[in-house]
């Protein structure tokens, strides 16, 4: 039981660390390429407003100049709605987090399965089905 709890804790910590890493990568990535917010249009834009635009607004005040980015969805008539910036960022996070999990699964699952199989073989519990008994 303790062994299982320890392993669950390690997996949870790894997932949190991965989330933090994805957030850092996204923060830098969207600053370098704000157009990436457009990739979330298939999820956030209504069917009748499929064309996505990232609009930047620059504001200058006494504290300096800041630029904000917002995703807009536009229809054929120029009708548009604003998806904002936080919702696209949230969807981008889910994209990136899902992709990272998939990548890690593809990288590590074969080796984990191989290790388990070796352990079973060592214990004499070889799970490989043997359709014909050796003569």
């Amino acid at each position: 039981m303790r062994y299982l709890l320890t392993r669950a804790g390690i997996v949870a910590a790894a997932l949190v660390a991965l989330a933090v890493a994805v957030i850092i990568i996204l923060s830098v990535g969207t600053v370098i390429y704000p157009g990436s917010l457009r990739w979330t249009a298939p999820v956030l834009c209504p069917d009748d407003q499929p064309d996505a635009f990232v609009v930047r607004t620059t504001v200058s005040d006494s504290e300096g100049t800041s630029t904000s980015f917002s995703l807009f969805c536009m229809g054929a008539r120029g009708d548009f709605s604003e998806a904002g910036s936080w919702r696209p960022l949230g969807v981008l996070f889910l994209y990136a987090y899902g992709a990272m999990l998939l990548l890690l699964a593809l990288l590590f699952l074969p080796s984990v399965r191989g290790r388990r199989k070796r352990r079973r073989v060592e214990r004499g519990i070889d799970p490989t089905p043997r359709p014909f008994a050796p003569l």
Partner: protein, 179 residues
Amino acid sequence: MVGASACVGSRTQESFENEVHARGGGLSQQLVLDGIVAVAEHQHTNPVHLRSITVQPARVAFEAQVPGTTSDLDAYTFGTSGMYGGGGLSGPEPVHTNSTDPPLEGTTFTAHAAGIEHFDTTVDQALDEAKLPGGWASSASISRPVGGGDPQTTVTVTNRRRTVTVTFDADGSVLGATP
């Protein structure tokens, strides 16, 4: 997301608005219908009795009769963009009226009576009627004419040099164009 940054893949607000203009101006029948539904849900009444509808890109404003009254109006706005007037329904804000104003009974109308179901067609027709090169429909308003009668839709078409106002009756027929 705020910060000094590169701008790769993004547009300025001016460039975005140019795109809206190139596509006709962005006045949307669906936005008007969604706004009326939102007001109806807020007022718990159907149909909503309106004194005016003013349509702009991503924003529509209504003056709606307060249910259960004969002379009170509330103002609502409904939009799809925080940058262009606010998202969702805003209001009600009381509308100041004078005792000299005509009774609401003669000035209000329902969405159906105003022919909202062919608003997009009306806007397209206004663009054709205005004959302004590179023109776009910048706003539209719907109200009943002074002295009574069916609701009329007035569409303002503009380009970089001129503005033309085209008026339609509730059936979508052109009543006139004013340069």
